[in-house]
Amino acid sequence: MSEISLPESAKHTGHAGHPKKDVHGIKMGMWLFLMTELLLFSGMFLLYSAYRYFYTKEFHEAAMYTHTLFGTVNTMVLLTSSLTMALSITALERGKKWLSVTFLSSTIALGLGFLVIKYVEWSTEIHEGIYPGSPMLFKHPRGFELFFAMYYLMTGLHGLHVLVGCGLLTVMLIFIIKGKITQEDSVRLEAAGLYWHLIDIIWIFLFPLFYLVN
């Protein structure tokens, strides 16, 4: 009897769609991907640090041209979006599907809000004549140009990640509504959440480096 029931139960653990997924493997895979993202940004943080070491005075002065208010508000927007992301997972795990949908929608809305603020901020700066290769920057010492090259590169790549994150979370939102991500099978939402939190962490470091040098 036990020989018959054993392969029966073994079948249930292996296949996708069955309640027992390799939750650990999925999360570990996501973490591994996050590490590669971290390496990508670390290279830029290293470059920023080296430039800042060689052009300390210019970096100080250039940072005064960035808008601290935009940076601070965006930090708070992103931190709040991380909160609603975490709350969305808890809500789903407690079986409150529509509360989870509400929290996840807020996360996406906050992410888009971040991008709108970023757009206004960049527009203001470009209007002031600050953009890579602009004549205004060439009038200043070389460190100015390098600071803003790093600024546009790093916040731009970060913004791209926010955009991708919003897309990813929208897919998760549809999955939850359609019942493909459920209380019993929520690992995909958790993995997407990990990605969103990483974006938040990167911004936590970008904020003091570009907005608070004065």
């Binding site: 650990h24 080296a50 070491y53 909160l83 808890t90």
Partner: protein
């Protein structure tokens, strides 16, 4: 707090309360960073700002990203990655410093 840590074993959902608490801490730390930047502490300003950023990111990693409640293997994995990164940063800084 005591009760929460008892009930929050692996698999059980984390309470809403702890997330809100961490969020409040993160907002407070952001405010502190912005205020400290206004005070002129010379070279220490950057060090303090980066230390606060480290504290903030460790809160996010441990609570929001759930590492605190995960199996040991995740903690080891994150710790090794963090260690490797800090070695890369340290060696590059040493290189830049002595090259000048």
């Amino acid at each position: 707090m005591e009760q929460q840590t008892l009930t929050e074993h692996k698999g059980a959902p984390t309470s809403y309360g702890i997330y809100v608490l961490i969020w409040l801490a993160l907002m407070a730390l952001t405010a502190i960073t912005a205020v400290v930047a206004g005070i002129n502490l010379a070279a220490f300003t950057l060090v303090i700002a980066l230390l606060i950023a480290l504290v903030k990111s460790s809160l996010v990693v441990n609570v929001f990203m759930h590492v605190k409640y995960e199996d040991k293997i995740f903690k080891i994995f994150v710790a090794i990655a963090g260690g490797v990164l800090s070695v890369i940063f340290l060696l590059t800084f040493a290189d830049v410093y002595f090259r000048r």
